[in-house]
Structure formats: structure tokens, C-alpha cells
Amino acid sequence: MRRKIALFLTLVLVFTVVATGCTKPQQAAQEAAPKVDFPKQGITAICPWAAGGGTDAVLRGLTLEAEKILGQTITVVNQTGGGGAIGHSAIMKAKPDGYTVGMITFELNSLPPQGLVPFTYKDFDPLMRINMDAAALTVKKDAPYNTIEEFVAYAKQHPGEINIGNSAPGSVWHIAAGLMAEKTGIQVEYVPFEGAAPAVTALVGGHIEAVSVSVPEVIGQVEAGDLKILGVMSAERLPSIPDVPTFKESGIDVVFGTWRGLAVPKGTPDEVKQILMDGFKQAYDSQGFQDFAKNAGLGLAYQDAAEYAKFLEANANDVAEVMKKLGLAK
């Protein structure tokens, strides 16, 4: 019996040693905080999407840098489920003391119109917008159309025959495709998948005719020569694919995409918010994060808190309106 216990304790000891070895050395605070003494302890960052996904990667990339600047460890907590609803609601319900920040994503504006969640963008204090990724219309390389105009013409001749894949019902890419169909007056079918990757795979395999997901999600297959992008729904052409025209250039007024940003629960003190904003802005500007964003093909689009708040309001109204038209909202 004694031997067993000894073994057990050794086991625990081994884990302890391993653990201490792995702990990152805490960086000393580089800046003395103005007015309020914040942060005095570790910060929690809530991610409404699963570990290993795109949103999680961005948040972890950013907090890795922000830890050095704020001088405290930042723990990323993935509270997933309900298509982002669980995580957003967890951010909203957290104590507004600055020790909980959260990543808010497009779904913050697309969930409320469906009448499924008890929050809206008004329940959050935005800190900054990080990125925006425009939707793009991507088709198979050997498809009989090469431009947006040809695609629209083809769709008009073959009503209901084009299946456009998206990542989930009511998702940003579903809405993007719906918006495009509405503006061009074409009739298409929407096929929801369990995420963007399966939709792209189905397109490569020729099971559907198009996808309306973002550029980073198709760029690999485009470069490999399996797929081609007909147009992007951004205001201007994207630097990563300068040859691809925007929908606006083709006379179709659609600018649509997903976005991500940081926010804290409503009612967080202004001084604390200011420290977080400054800290995360520095992290955003750091070489480490910029390199990360470039590698990940992230469409960086910084906005400060005031601009972001305005953007959130406008975006919420737009999204709700579109979803109503598409029959996705209640």
C-alpha cells in the first residue's frame, strides 16, 4: 500500500516539475499604469469559438503579445456552443472590471434578429476592431463563367440550378450569398455545411457550384488551380488578390463580410478600458502579431473604440434588414 501511495505522489511530483518547467516566465510590466492600478492580476479572454479555429488563433496571437505589454498573463477561455451564443453571453454576463475581455464576432449581430439570444451589440463596450474579411464568390476552375456578369447571366438562364455552399444556416456567408442573389435578381439554392472547410471541399469535389465564403478559406485551392474567385464583396480590391474585381466594380452594390473585435462587458470603468485599449493596440501593432496576421491571410482592419461602436450599430441594422428580406429573421 505504501508503495502505491509513494508512486502516486511521485506521479504528482513529476507533473509539478514538468509544469513549473513549462510556465512562461512572467514579463515585468513595461509601463507604469496611469491613474488606476490595473491590471493587478491575470486577465481572462473569452473566445466564443473552439480552440484551434480562426477566431481562437487571432485571439491567442494577440494575447500572446498583449501579455508582454500589460504585464499579466492572459488566459484564453473557449466558451463555445450555440453558434457563438454561449461565448457572447458569457462576455456580457462577466463582471465589468476589465479582468474579462472577449472576442466579439459577426454573429453578435446575426443572432439577435433570429430571436434566439437575449443580447445585442448594445450590451457590450467595444474596445477595438481587429479584422474584416470580405465574402467572395468562388467557383470551380472549369466552370463556364469567368466573371461576375457571366455568372449572373448563367444563373438567370438556369434558375435554381446553382447551389451555393455556406458555413451554416443564417451564417455570414449564407447572408452574403442571399444579398448577392437579391441585388442581382438571380434564383439560387443555399446549401449549409458544418463550417466553411466542408463547403469548400464539396466545391472542389464538384458537388456544388459555388461558395460564398471568405478569401482566406479558399485561397489554397485557388492557388492550386482547382477553384477561381469571380469577385469579392469588399469596398476595394484586396491586396492579396489584386486581379479579382469587387462586386461594386461590376455594378452590384454589395459590400459584406465578417469581422472580429475585442469588447468588455457594459459598464467597465473608463480608465480600465483605456489601459486595455492602449495595451491591445500596442499588441496589434507589434511585429509578432503583424507577421502572424500576414501568414494567416487575415484582413486586418483596425478601428478604435468610438469608430467601432458606430460600425457595430450600422452593421447591426444592415444585417437585421438583410436577414428579414431573406426570411432568416423572425
Binding site: 501511495i5 502516486f8 505522489l9 506521479l11 504528482v12 507533473f15 509539478t16 514538468v18 509544469a19 513549473t20 513549462c22 510556465t23 481572462t44 488566459t75 484564453v76 477561455v77
Partner: protein, 151 residues
């Protein structure tokens, strides 16, 4: 086993009825017949059928060997019930009291329930295990556990 089969069957019938009732509220798909309620209804029908057969078999005395009786007065069952209750209490206080203290209490209590009586050893092992788990999850893997008052 006969009684158990009948109860199991009745539960199946109940679930099936519930699914039918709930799915009648689902919106119909206009384009196709296969909407949100299609799958649940087929399953409810299947469940109804299988449950019916199970009840029928039990009724006709075709159930298999009798299982041990579920006797609430039996000490083993009572112990399992107390373990369940203590687990429920543990989960309720987990958020408030914090992971480390509530878990140590929980472990010591369970060991006591299972008739271990060496209190020093029980406390030591419980503390070691809880701290070990805490380190693996929180420090190495960066997964948060409920912190409560005491961190």
C-alpha cells in the same frame, strides 16, 4: 426484468409522444417535404414501434432472466445514491467555493463513504490529486477551472 422492460418501453412511448408533440410546432419547409420535423418524426415512430414490441414481449412473459431487484433499502444502492447527491452538491458549490477546496472536500467525503478511515492519508491523497489536476489543467494546458473565492 419484466417490470424493467415494461418501464423502459413506457419511457420510449413517452419520449416518442413528446417528440411528436414538439415537432408539430416546427415550421414546415415550403420547398421540400423534408423539413426540421421530418427526421425526429421518423425516429419517434421507430421508437414507438420498438417500445411497443418490448412491452408486448414483457407482457407475454418473454423477458430474459430476472435482474437484481432495485431495492432502495439496500446499502449499496443507498451508497450510490449518496455519492450521486454529493456529486450534485459538489457541482453546485464548485463555482462559488472554487475548484481546489471544494474538490478536496468532495474527495475526502467520497473516500469516507467508501469506508476508508485513515483521515491523514485521505486528506493527503485528496490534496495531492486535486493540486495535481489543477496544475495539469491550469498551468500546463491553460484550461481554466472554477476559481471561486480562494483562487
Amino acid at each position: 426484468m419484466r417490470k424493467a422492460d415494461i418501464i423502459g418501453g413506457l419511457m420510449g412511448v413517452f419520449i416518442s409522444a413528446f417528440v411528436f408533440y414538439e415537432s408539430s410546432k416546427f415550421p414546415e419547409d415550403i420547398v421540400m417535404k423534408i423539413g426540421p420535423s421530418y427526421f425526429p418524426r421518423i425516429l419517434a415512430m421507430g421508437l414507438l414501434l420498438v417500445s411497443g414490441i418490448l412491452i408486448l414481449q414483457a407482457y407475454m412473459g418473454k423477458s430474459k432472466k430476472p435482474a437484481e431487484k432495485f431495492d432502495i433499502k439496500e446499502p449499496g444502492i443507498q451508497r450510490a445514491g449518496i455519492a450521486l447527491l454529493s456529486t450534485i452538491v459538489y457541482c453546485m458549490i464548485l463555482d462559488k467555493v472554487g475548484f481546489i477546496p471544494s474538490s478536496i472536500l468532495y474527495l475526502v467525503f467520497l473516500m469516507y463513504l467508501l469506508e476508508k478511515r485513515n483521515y491523514v492519508k485521505m486528506t493527503m491523497i485528496s490534496t495531492a490529486v486535486v493540486v495535481g489536476i489543477y496544475i495539469i489543467f491550469k498551468t500546463i494546458l491553460n484550461i481554466t477551472l472554477p476559481s471561486g473565492f480562494f483562487g
